[in-house]
Symmetry: C2
Subunit: 273 residues, 2 copies
């Protein structure tokens, strides 16, 4: 795992913004509580003003006084000194939803990209929801079909922003029927664990483990122990046959060791073996 | 497996009725081809005339001249001699979609129920789609929430019609995001394999094996080797933690051995192990 000492909070989209705000409260707590300095990055969305304003309202309602927004609508925006300064000053950078390709195209390789990695290595909390979640990994799902069986052609992969290694992330997981596309994504590259994160649910990643928070669950899809597949013979857009995928479903409070590819036993839980 | 020598065709709903009709063609082929005698059972639906007429049109279009419909709107309908005679005369009984509880409530324990089991033991092809698929097993999903993580309270189980043992069937699987509810169903009773059948997809069951046909895939969810769960401590409506579920996804042409709980190797497929 390559991410720095700063935790990642990877959110499956549609996090609660009106009730107890469990996930956003956790983001704030990790970033220093009421003294957190939050920078909301709206690069993924084409509605930066509306989306940015909503997060400013929510974070302020939750007691954070220092909330700013930063938008990148052309690559030059992410190379100016004020952009680097904004990141250096923040204790948390929060990526909103939108289109993950906007993040990699507009931010990838800029000075702000470098600054984000340096800051995360030094403790910056990096949070992202929906598109802001997908872009966290080294290889990301760019786009794909939902509500389908796994097929070779239904998911397009692309390089991500490399804040976390070894995983491919999908969001809105249960709500949008994305098992098929996540299986398609990990089947060809079983090095990656597939993390299917439900809405209003997040993983908090520290070093090589994550903990689940929020209302839904995180499905971990591990294709490393496939007993059988048709990967070597299936044609483009052909149906995948995958046997022996290991699936774990973890609700709030459960932890997973990404390096060992297994859940971490919970003391109040009875093991069946 | 308790089903007789007559094959079962268990369809995940929304089977093609206007194009190549792969699944309905297979039903006809199993039942004797153009000389098949098909009885369409509309007991599951509250629109028996419309639904029945549609299947009569389709089967006739596919070359079957002897297609009849039979509806059961009260239990007495299923005890009359003409009902038994209709089943004895048929080479295939096809259960339409609707509500699986209507099937078990209106047909369960009637003389027609007995006649169906006897006829299936003697070679009758038994097909069912959607609700007509769910009712096939000994324990069935009565109703449940979709697009959610697995939770104890989200799925209601009920006794089914016992045409096949050892499985719990869910339909419209990928299309309606039903992984969570199928996991919930099998987690508590890992004796059952969960079969998640996509739309326009079916399993053809003969003895203790099935073969997949149609456009989508069948997901086999096996909770027998759970490495870890919170089943013994979770409360009603609590979130389930399930680790080590074995998942296999099988598209058209693939076979599965229900008794051995494993896919049957396919000669044109390369095993990874």
């Amino acid at each position: 795992m390559s991410q720095g000492p700063g935790p990642l909070v990877i959110i499956g989209g549609a996090e609660d913004k009106t009730g107890r705000c469990t996930i956003l409260q956790e983001v704030i707590a990790l970033a220093g509580g009421q003294t957190a300095r939050v920078l909301v990055m709206t690069v993924a969305t084409e509605l930066p003003l509306e989306v940015g304003a909503e997060y400013v309202r929510v974070f302020e309602k939750l007691g954070v006084s220092d909330v700013r927004t930063f938008d990148v609508s052309k690559r030059e925006d992410a190379d100016v000194a004020s952009a680097i300064h904004a990141i250096e000053k923040a204790t948390c950078v929060f990526f909103t939803g939108g289109d993950q390709v906007r993040i990699t195209e507009l931010l990838g390789g800029t000075k702000m990209d470098t600054a984000l990695h340096i800051a995360n290595d030094q403790g910056l909390v990096l949070a992202g929801t929906s598109a802001g979640a997908s872009m966290m990994s080294s290889t990301m799902i760019e786009e794909g079909k939902a509500e389908t069986n796994p097929r070779i052609g239904i998911v397009n992969m692309a390089p991500g922003m490399e804040f976390i290694a070894g995983v491919v992330i999908d969001q809105h997981f249960a709500q949008r029927g994305r098992l098929g596309r996540l299986l398609s994504a990990v089947a060809q590259y079983p090095h990656h664990l597939g993390l299917g994160i439900d809405e209003d649910t997040a993983v908090v990643v520290k070093k090589s483990t994550f903990r689940v928070i929020g209302r839904g669950a995180v499905s971990v899809v591990d294709a490393s122990a496939l007993t059988y597949s048709n990967l070597s013979t299936v044609s483009e857009n052909g149906d995948l046959a995958l046997c022996g995928v290991t699936l774990s479903v973890l609700p709030s409070g459960y932890e997973f060791d990404l390096r060992e590819r297994r859940p971490i036993p919970k003391t109040d839980t009875v093991s069946n073996k």
